[in-house]
Amino acid sequence: MKQYVGMDELQIGEEGVVHRIELCGTFQRRIQDLGLIHGTTVQCIHQSPCGDPIAYLIRGAIIAMRNSDAKHIIVQVGGELCGPDRREYESKSN
């Protein structure tokens, strides 16, 4: 079943696909450069001792992010984990 949650709500080990990024400006650009865009798969892998920040696996790298930032990244959990935009792009470029 499809469900949309903030990235900070992922359980450890759980995967999600980025659905919407409700951030703007420098920070949005910064996470884009890390490869985090619409359709990217992220996995929550670890929580720091206070539960904030949380470490995510993004394109093979471990990235730590504060929950106040991560909650603005809406991810899809459950259902078929594949971003529509990505499929569209791949079919176009092939």
Partner: protein, 644 residues
């Protein structure tokens, strides 16, 4: 606020342009994401023929070096690691400015083979700016361990620029990289980079390209990510991911219950090794210097030099230099390489990760933990390291509080005072424990001071925080230890000559120039005496702190010089000699405790002050950075004095 983006960037451009060619040799720029082994490649290419920074590993300013290949000299520049080209932080601006105006003959982009997809994003962005690119896929050995295979020739075809595979840690592929650089510089290698902006058919994007570079447009950013994704899928069989072993280490190292105890234990072990390891060389050096000093004195008497020249040279300059080297060098040369090792292991970013929550509560950035750790090596390096913090406000907090943690130059003095007065009957483990306790105190004060700044002069909301936790890498232990040991030894010796010798001269002068019926030194100490008394110390100690402004390593030797009357006590070396001198001067536990506290919290040394001024371009904030630790130190010392 003095620290605006504008003047940071102006400085960045100056820095970038500093590394123009000296004698017209070709310029090669090295860039890439952080933690891809860029500095290892740099070291491989230059074979130590380079300007080493005070804090190796983390390249925050531009390092420059040279290498010779087939009889031709190349100048190579190691740009700071960046994820992006859109210069929003100071170091990214340095990289972009360099690409645009540095006119490098050749740009080598280093990629991490275990994380190729993410690295390719930047490769594609740089390809928009220049033709002369070599892509260097590094860490192939690590990729192999993770069963990742990369089709380099396919990648070369798809990108249209040369692709070289390397494993810099064992030197594989570096020769090939050099020959490709040569071909490119001499024009034998024609690149036809397949740019994302040229592949895209979308008309609206094309109009965007006309006005600005495509990579600068926010809307275009996903194109680069998609193309990188596509390329990575073509040439590699997957990203490294997160192995079960790494997960296990992380669970322990950064776990809920284990993180802080492990951090403390790590400090303890590092200090213990430093303390135990430094004892022996320290007393050996002291014996050696005593012997040389005695010999020189005989020579001076034989040559019948005038008394004042003998005094200046032997009691002033030589005695100070010898003390600084003998007392301070061994602990510094042991502590520093150990810390470098922790950095190379990938441990320091994890400290930032663990401590970020506390920093955010104090209105600061978790990356401050990194600059703080660099401060343990050298506060000036720590202040420069604050550039990794993006927000100007948080960066300023980090800069102003950096000198609150003891630098490498203060550790030997702390160790000596603790050994003599606080742990004399309990041996090295107790000394290490107490030292770690004082370091924890300094970290707690850093948090408190950050919070205070956040609540008073530097109000604002905490900004976002993104930090990559690099995979654990097995550092080349031997090489790291030897190199940073040599670096440190050389650095301390150079500083001993440059700073300790003039200080010795001044010291001899103030202790021999008469004012009325006393010497200038006693007169100055007399003025400072009431202040020193209130703080549980004495005027002499305060005077030593003031005279030690050029370098913290000088303070304890100066105290010993003044109290011991400049004479070398024969038969006793190292700690024993110091104990005799301090005991005779009537020092007790309280004096030692107050001195230790003031060692931890007083004004930064001259180099650090200068660096702070350079980084903030503001006299006001430089004065703040002097006032803040001094105020903390005075308050604590007065408090201890009143309570005991």
């Amino acid at each position: 606020m003095g620290l605006t983006e504008e003047n940071m960037s102006r400085k960045a451009i100056e820095r970038g342009m500093d590394f123009g060619r000296d004698q017209g040799e070709p310029l090669v720029a090295l860039m890439g994401n952080p933690n891809v082994g860029k500095s290892t490649i740099f070291n491989c290419l230059t074979k130590m023929n380079q300007h080493t920074g005070n804090w190796p590993g983390k390249t925050v300013s531009i390092a420059s070096g040279q290498f010779t290949y087939k009889g031709k000299l190349y100048r190579i520049t190691d740009l700071p690691g960046t994820y992006s080209l859109l210069g929003r932080s100071a170091e990214e601006e340095v990289a972009v400015d360099f690409l645009r105006y540095g006119k490098a003959e050749c740009v080598v982009i280093v990629c991490d083979a275990t994380c190729l997809e993410r690295n390719l994003i930047q490769v594609l962005q740089v390809m928009e700016l220049t033709d002369r690119i070599i892509v260097c896929v590094n860490l192939l050995d690590e990729a192999e361990k993770k069963h990742i295979e990369i089709d380099l020739s396919r990648l070369e075809r798809e990108l249209g620029v040369p692709v070289i595979g390397t494993s810099a840690s064992n030197g594989t592929g570096v020769e090939k990289l050099q020959s490709t650089v040569r071909q490119m510089v001499e024009g034998f290698c024609v690149c036809r980079p397949k740019r994302v902006s040229e592949m895209e058919e979308d008309a609206s994007l094309h109009s965007m390209c006309k006005e600005r570079h495509l990579w600068e447009a926010d809307a275009a950013a996903p194109l680069f990510v998609h193309r990188a994704e596509q390329l990575a899928a073509m040439v590699s069989n997957g990203a490294g991911g997160y192995t079960a072993r790494e997960a296990r280490i992380d669970r322990i190292l950064t776990g809920r219950r284990t993180a802080l105890p492990i951090l403390f234990a790590m400090l303890l072990v590092v200090f213990w090794i430093t303390i135990v390891g430094a004892n022996y060389p320290s007393s050996m050096l002291q014996t050696l210097f005593d012997w040389i000093g005695g010999w020189m004195r005989k020579a001076a008497v034989a040559a019948s030099l005038p008394w004042w020249l003998q005094g200046v040279l032997l009691d002033g300059i030589w005695a100070t230099v010898a003390r600084v080297v003998a007392v301070m060098l061994p602990p510094m040369a042991i502590f520093f390489p150990l810390f470098t090792l922790l950095e190379d292991l990938g441990f320091l970013p994890r400290i930032a990760y663990v401590l970020d929550h506390r920093f955010s509560k104090c209105g600061a950035c978790g990356k401050q933990a990194l600059s703080m750790c660099m401060g343990f090596g050298c506060n000036a390096a720590g202040v420069i390291g604050c550039r990794i913090i993006d927000s100007a406000r948080e960066r300023l907090i980090a800069i102003l509080t950096n000198a609150l943690v003891p630098c490498n130059g203060r550790f030997p003095a702390l160790i000596m005072l603790i050994t003599i007065f606080l742990s004399q009957h309990h041996g090295a483990p107790m000394t290490a424990l107490l030292l770690a306790g004082f370091v924890v105190l300094s970290v707690v004060v850093t948090f408190a001071a950050s919070w205070l700044l956040h609540k008073t002069v530097l109000r604002g909301t905490p900004t976002s925080f993104v930090l990559e936790l690099p995979p654990f890498r097995k550092p080349k232990v031997g090489e790291v230890l030897v190199r940073s040991f040599l670096d440190r030894t050389f650095f301390v010796l150079k500083r001993a000559v440059l700073v300790a010798a003039p200080a010795g001269f001044v010291l001899w002068c103030v202790s021999n120039i008469a004012v009325g019926d006393t010497t200038l030194m006693l007169w100055l100490a007399g003025i400072l005496e009431p202040m020193g008394r209130i703080m549980g110390m004495s005027g002499v100690v305060l005077l030593a702190f003031i005279l030690g402004f050029p370098a913290n390593e000088l303070i304890l030797p100066i105290i010993l010089m003044i109290l011991g009357g400049g004479t070398v006590i024969s038969g006793e070396v190292g700690h024993d000699a110091a104990r005799t001198i301090l005991m005779q001067a009537g020092w007790g536990r309280e004096t030692a405790l107050c001195t230790i506290l003031f060692f931890l919290f007083h004004w930064p040394c001259s180099t650090t002050c200068l660096t702070i001024y350079k980084e903030t371009r503001s006299l006001k904030w430089t004065l703040w950075s002097i006032f803040l630790p001094t105020a903390v130190g005075v308050l604590l010392c007065v408090g201890v004095h009143l309570l005991i």
